[in-house]
């Protein structure tokens, strides 16, 4: 997306080629490149100059609030330390972390240091509670990256390996069997008739006379869910991922009503993931453990995609029906699909500009 004046992304691949220069020249075609691993978004400070230093300070009210809470915090800390003789240091630290987490700000507006400190707190809190260490990233979006996805309807056989991989990778609630991906089984000869499709089948696949189509969050470039959120707990990142700050979400579910693609899920009860199944390679905006009463959704496995890997669903697909990559990299396989296949998107008339295309061989 080189053209900033445009309201949302539109498919204009011919003209983009000239303007684009990818950050690395490794020439790998899918899913970014290994150079991405060495990139550390946290340490980089964006320097503002001119009037930006005065006007572009987003944290004013939050710093003020923080100072207020800091006062309360010291008070509360002092009270609990002085009054209690039995609590040990761990309990105190846990209480301290819980308190700071309860009153932290919106991740979207945090500076890189603040992002890092909340991630550190979350890692420490998990350690205190379970004795196990997780790794959590707060890696930012890279420049010249815009993630896109393509789905080959001819290849998908409905095995649902993608669904299983997604659940495991993203620490989804096992109790309610939450799944980001839905595979719709459709009858041959009826076209894309979602009404008669079955997205909850339990039989051997591929079933005779049927074809399969997967849906998930399409990471729209003009996402209706982002507009309606009353607290800006969900937003579109620079690399096109539509993400949620689980700690900022108030759970009103307005975004769920606004999504035309059934892309969002809600934690109706406390999500449960067995301790030995927890994926410990986490990202703040991605697969870290959620709490009850907040929204969540597919993030194109931000913890993987920003580290230069394919999302779990792409990797798990046994038929190769799923293609993922950087739309701004002219050598990526996603670009090849968009340029050489007859692609289409769902409900394009709504103006949501999904970054998820379907095609057939």
């Amino acid at each position: 997306m080189s053209n900033d004046t445009k309201k949302w992304f539109s498919l204009n691949l011919g003209s983009k080629k000239k303007q684009k220069e990818t950050t690395c020249g490794c020439g790998k075609t899918d899913g970014g490149c290994s150079f991405a691993n060495t990139y550390n978004g946290m340490g980089e400070e964006r320097h503002k100059d001119g009037f930006d230093q005065v006007f572009d300070v987003q944290m004013g009210r939050r710093t003020a609030f923080k100072k207020l809470t800091a006062g309360l915090l010291i008070g509360a800390g002092a009270v609990s330390t002085s009054c209690s003789l039995i609590t040990d240091d761990d309990t105190k630290e846990k209480a301290q972390i819980d308190w700071e987490e309860q009153f932290k700000g919106n991740y979207k507006l945090m500076t890189d240091e603040e992002k890092k400190s909340t991630v550190d707190r979350l890692v420490r809190s998990y350690q205190l509670r379970t004795g196990k260490t997780i790794s959590m990233s707060s890696q930012n979006a890279e420049e010249n990256v815009l993630f896109g996805y393509a789905f080959n309807i001819s290849k998908c056989q409905g095995y649902m390996d993608c669904v299983n991989a997604c659940v495991e990778e993203n620490n989804q609630d096992r109790k309610s069997e939450m799944q980001y991906i839905r595979i719709h089984e459709m009858e041959d000869g009826k076209g894309f008739n979602f009404n008669e499709a079955d997205d909850n089948y339990y039989h051997e696949v591929p079933a005779e006379g049927h074809f399969y189509m997967g849906t998930q969050c399409f990471h729209c470039d003009n996402p209706p869910c982002v507009e309606v959120c009353p607290v800006e707990a969900t937003w579109r990142e620079e690399d096109g991922l539509v993400v949620i700050d689980y700690d900022w979400c108030v759970g009103c579910r307005y975004c769920m009503a606004a999504c035309p693609y059934d892309g969002r899920r809600f934690n109706w009860s406390k999500p449960e993931v067995p301790e030995n199944e927890v994926n410990k390679n986490q990202h703040y905006l991605g697969n870290r453990l959620r709490k009850k009463g907040v929204m969540e959704k597919c993030t194109f496995c931000v913890q993987r995609s920003r580290a230069g890997k394919n999302p779990a669903c792409v990797e798990a697909c046994p038929t190769g029906a799923r293609i993922f990559g950087n739309l701004l990299d002219p050598n990526s396989s996603i670009r090849w699909v968009l340029e050489n296949k007859k692609v289409f998107r769902l409900k394009e008339d709504l103006g949501t500009e999904p970054k998820f295309w379907y095609f057939m061989d």
């Binding site: 719709h184 309606v228 009353p230 979400c249 108030v250 579910r253 009503a257 934690n267 009463g293 709504l350």
Partner: protein, 406 residues
């Protein structure tokens, strides 16, 4: 300083008033308290388990709470139909009713806020929504508009009656130069709250059942029918049980408002039905589900047909002067109209928006006992608040309590 003393005395007097009354009054308040306590218990279970204690799912993600919220915004907005004639047009026939109407508005708004909070997944982080310390997505999110207009309307509806009652309590006349600007503002504001609430749904391109230009105007028409209908019923009760004088003329005038609004509402319903069923498209499926059921799923059928028959019956009764002027018939018509619109603008509007889902999935919704318990608790809360407000207002207006009287 003097004002503070008067205020202190007013608070003491009203506390005295609301804690004393007839046996029936105490019984009424006790039963409301009981229902509220049951509601709080249900809510504590919901807090503990999460919203899985309700019947809502990923497929139908708003239910009874948001339905009641939507309906009650209309009830709150309806107070304006009494405010405008009284304060702005100086129609004294409405004067007795207006304080009661504003009391209903306050109670309805508090219920609205309670329903929204009950529906939240994370009530403990609601401060994220407070402008200044949280992040307020204004003007993009219609929900933030709704927060602003509802709280603003609540403020107006508390301050205006409070000023008038405060003056009367001291035996002074209220100055029209003080309250008329506020009343005038609240007239526009009332239209605003209901239109904004309609826009909350109307603006979603994902839900064709809501994404329809008639939704806002229909909200207004149904609100101006259901709200004043409730006010008539409440006034009828007040006039039987208290010394507060409400003339027949007042009731008849409000009944006229109800009649016109109910007629307009019916016309809009016909227009909506025509659009959905004359040339049905893919987008008419929610309407099909609501009125006829889809795939053998017919949970809303009995409700919506009850609502429509009651609605038509009430409108017909109200249209004939002879019937409308007979109070027994009028009260009956108001009651069934209120129930009809509660169904129609409540879950008759919210639930079909989600059915069928974005990909045609038809998953029905049935509220759980917990959900119904919380809902009843909030209604009891509204009735409780209204009783307190109305009792104090009536005593001041009838001159039973005055500053320094004793």
């Amino acid at each position: 300083m003097r004002r503070l003393r008067v205020f202190g005395s007013l608070v003491k007097d009203s506390l005295d008033i609301i804690t004393h009354g007839s046996k029936k009054y105490h019984l009424w308040m006790a039963s409301l308290t009981l229902v509220m306590l049951v509601g709080m218990y249900c809510y504590s279970i919901q807090l503990e388990q999460g919203l899985s204690a309700t019947g809502m799912t990923d497929r139908v993600s708003w239910g009874l709470y948001i339905s009641n919220f939507t309906f009650l915004v209309g009830v709150a907005a309806a107070a304006v139909m009494l405010v405008m004639p009284t304060y702005v047009l100086k129609d004294i026939d409405f004067k007795q009713a207006v304080l009661i109407g504003e009391g209903i508005a306050v109670a309805a708004l508090i219920m609205c806020l309670a329903f929204v909070i009950a529906d939240m997944g994370g009530p403990s982080v609601l401060w994220h929504m407070i402008p200044g310390i949280g992040v307020f997505n204004f003007p993009n999110s219609m929900l933030t508009w709704d927060v602003l207009v509802l709280n603003g309307y609540l403020f107006l509806n508390i301050t205006i009656p409070f000023y008038i009652l405060f003056r009367h309590y001291q035996g002074k006349k209220s100055k029209s130069s003080v309250y008329v600007p506020g009343a005038l503002l609240s007239v526009f504001w009332a239209v605003g709250i209901h239109l904004v609430t309609a826009f909350l749904y109307q603006g979603l391109q994902a839900r064709p059942f809501w994404n329809n230009a008639l939704l806002g105007p229909r909200f207004l028409a149904s609100a101006f029918a259901a709200g004043p209908a409730l006010i008539i019923l409440v006034l009828a009760i007040i006039r039987t049980y208290t010394a507060f004088k409400i003339e027949d003329k007042t009731l008849k005038k409000i009944a006229m408002v109800v009649t016109v609004a109910a007629q307009i509402n019916l016309i809009m319903l016909v227009s909506e039905l025509f659009k959905e069923f004359y040339a049905p498209t893919h987008h008419s499926e929610s309407a099909y589900y609501l009125f006829f059921g889809l795939d053998g799923k017919t949970a809303l059928l009995p409700w919506i047909w009850t609502a429509i028959s009651l609605n038509v019956l009430a409108t017909v009764i109200l249209t004939f002067h002879k019937l409308r002027n007979n109070f027994k018939v009028l009260f009956f018509a108001c009651l069934i109209l209120f129930v009809a619109i509660w169904i129609e603008k409540g879950f008759g509007l919210i639930i079909p928006g989600f059915i069928p889902g974005p990909y045609g999935k038809i998953a029905e919704y049935t509220p759980t006992g917990i959900e119904i318990g919380v809902t009843l608790g909030i209604w009891a809360l509204g009735a409780f608040i209204f009783t307190i407000l109305a009792k104090t207002a009536i005593k001041i207006e009838t001159g039973a309590i005055r500053y320094n009287k004793k």
